[in-house]
Symmetry: C2
Subunit: 333 residues, 2 copies
């Protein structure tokens, strides 16, 4: 079983998951994973996966068979599990929790396709609905404090399988970076009497140099202090702390913005490996007026090295103004 | 010129260094860099490097010629520079600083050797003295707030050159992770009336399972909540916040502990890529009784992916107790 440990000095959580070291890795030395006949997530191979938690499938198709567009499965090699109860072990120095949580895989299309930007708008909508529905379900478990949804695309971004998929990790703690965002946004509101996400959006629209895609409900832009080259965020224009509150109409618009941004990154950077992460408010908290869910997209072009790991600070060799300009110049799909 | 930008939400510094994108990369696709006839740091090629800031060389050898053991050079592609003055640009949302600082390379031996564990004890002492002497020199510049010394060994750890070298990055800010350590150590002292580093050392010695090397002045151990597989810290047993205060006697002992730990990692993990980072107190602060300088060594065995980047938390597939046992089992050099 996994064990969660908290760093005694900086209070950062680490999931100790020794069982995961046994999982097979499809390809590790290639800069790009490639499509494969031996695709564990392909339609028709449902009998070899774990049993689905959720699937968007044709009305007459039975569970765990063909006929689906998006499927959500328990991770075969989970870092955390709900088959255990939350036990805390704390003394004045070291703190640990039992490995309670959920680790799921969102299989994003039935065919052997690695890049969701090449899927139909309708398919991408179903992915975004699956993210929402899984969070809504997990929220009912009071042991779970937060759900992080993330995608690793490409071997250099940590993917071990080519077929497009994301992961959901629900944890009994709120991750450090989310805690920092919540605290920073709250402090800004207290100091300035305004919402920091409103102020960032207003500034970015007025300035314009870092804007990538601009729609009625969303703004996609390269952030002022990007950690990663070509890092791009997608932020809703209206306050909304919890992603699970998103409407069907907003999902349609978000799907087209996400597709456009990923397409632009793929053209501008020649199919880069990338990660994206959904940042959303803690599951068990009510609406937080100062916080806003958003997607953060990190192309993985340069190796992160000793300075970044050791300092928590970053060196970025492309100004976000230049990155955004390049992304704006790419033609739409 | 570089520009330093602070994230408006989580207050993390990023060095925007567009000029660095022009530097050549020796090897990028190999899992291990290899020794090379075309070694830019080899003895005899001093005329092609930047002019040395410091060198430990034989008494009769002129600067910037052969006859040295350790040389310190300005980085040819610096992320920061001292040839500019500190200009701050701040509004209520975005904060930036001009790219003031120092970026230096410590060339750690004259021959084409990539692993400092294979150097003589005397050579390793000179490296550790060079770290100290450069910090002492940079401390005199009141514009510099902190010096981070770090090593990238192996292409997967971010190195672009095989020849053993470290880097020093002196910044006008104190890095986020150092700020978090300072705050965490201070809060622990306030809450418990004891030094957290004393308590960690006492606990690790009493427990024993995570200890790697144990000498009169230093303890090397795999940390309780290691971020990375086989992460190992070397911590002085007595309080000392600033590395630049280290004595010559302690350097001799530190050199043998560092060599032993790196040798054990290399044998146990088959020459892994790794980073190490010296964490030390801010340059312009007086002695901090609650803080302690230390080395953090991060083997780079698994790819860090979306969860870690997006959450600030980590998944580690090897318990530190198992890692330390394996490292203890390796025979000494």
């Amino acid at each position: 079983m996994s064990e969660l440990r908290k760093d005694p000095i900086v209070h950062r959580w680490v999931i100790m998951a020794p069982e995961r070291a046994t999982r097979p890795i499809e390809v590790t030395d290639l800069p790009h994973l490639v499509s494969s006949m031996d695709d564990p997530f392909a339609e028709g191979r449902e009998s070899t996966t774990t049993a689905e938690l959720l699937a968007f499938r044709s009305a007459d198709s039975p569970a765990n068979g063909p006929g689906w567009d998006v499927r959500v499965l328990p991770n075969k090699y989970p870092a955390l599990s709900r088959d255990t109860s939350l036990v805390e072990s704390t003394d004045s120095l070291y703190q640990s929790l039992s490995g309670v949580g959920a680790h799921e895989v969102i299989v994003e299309c039935p065919q052997n396709e690695g890049n969701i930007s090449r899927l139909s708008d309708e398919n991408i909508c179903k992915i975004l609905v699956a993210y929402r529905d899984r969070i809504v379900d997990l929220k009912r478990d009071p042991q779970l404090a937060h759900a992080t949804i993330f995608k690793n695309c490409g071997a250099q971004a940590g993917a071990s399988i080519y077929h497009a998929h994301s992961q959901l990790l629900a944890t009994p703690y709120v991750p450090s970076l989310i805690e920092e965002e919540l605290a920073g946004a709250k402090a800004y509101q207290a100091a300035n009497g305004r919402d920091i996400f409103d102020d960032i959006i207003a500034r970015e629209l007025a300035d314009g140099r870092r804007v990538v895609v601009d729609t009625p409900q969303f703004l996609a832009f390269c952030t002022y202090a990007s950690r990663f080259t070509y890092e791009t965020w997608i932020v809703p224009r209206q306050p909304e702390s919890h992603y699970e509150q998103i409407t069907a109409e907003a999902i349609r618009e978000l799907a087209s913005v996400l597709k456009s941004v990923l397409h632009r990154l793929e053209v501008a950077l020649n199919d880069p490996p990338y990660n994206y992460v959904l940042h959303t408010a803690p599951l068990q908290q009510a609406y937080l007026p100062h916080y806003r869910w958003h997607f953060e997209i990190y192309p993985r072009l340069t190796r992160v090295a000793g300075y970044e790991w050791g300092s928590g600070c970053y060196i970025n060799e492309v100004l976000p103004e230049q990155a955004a300009q390049r992304l704006r110049e790419v033609s739409e799909v």
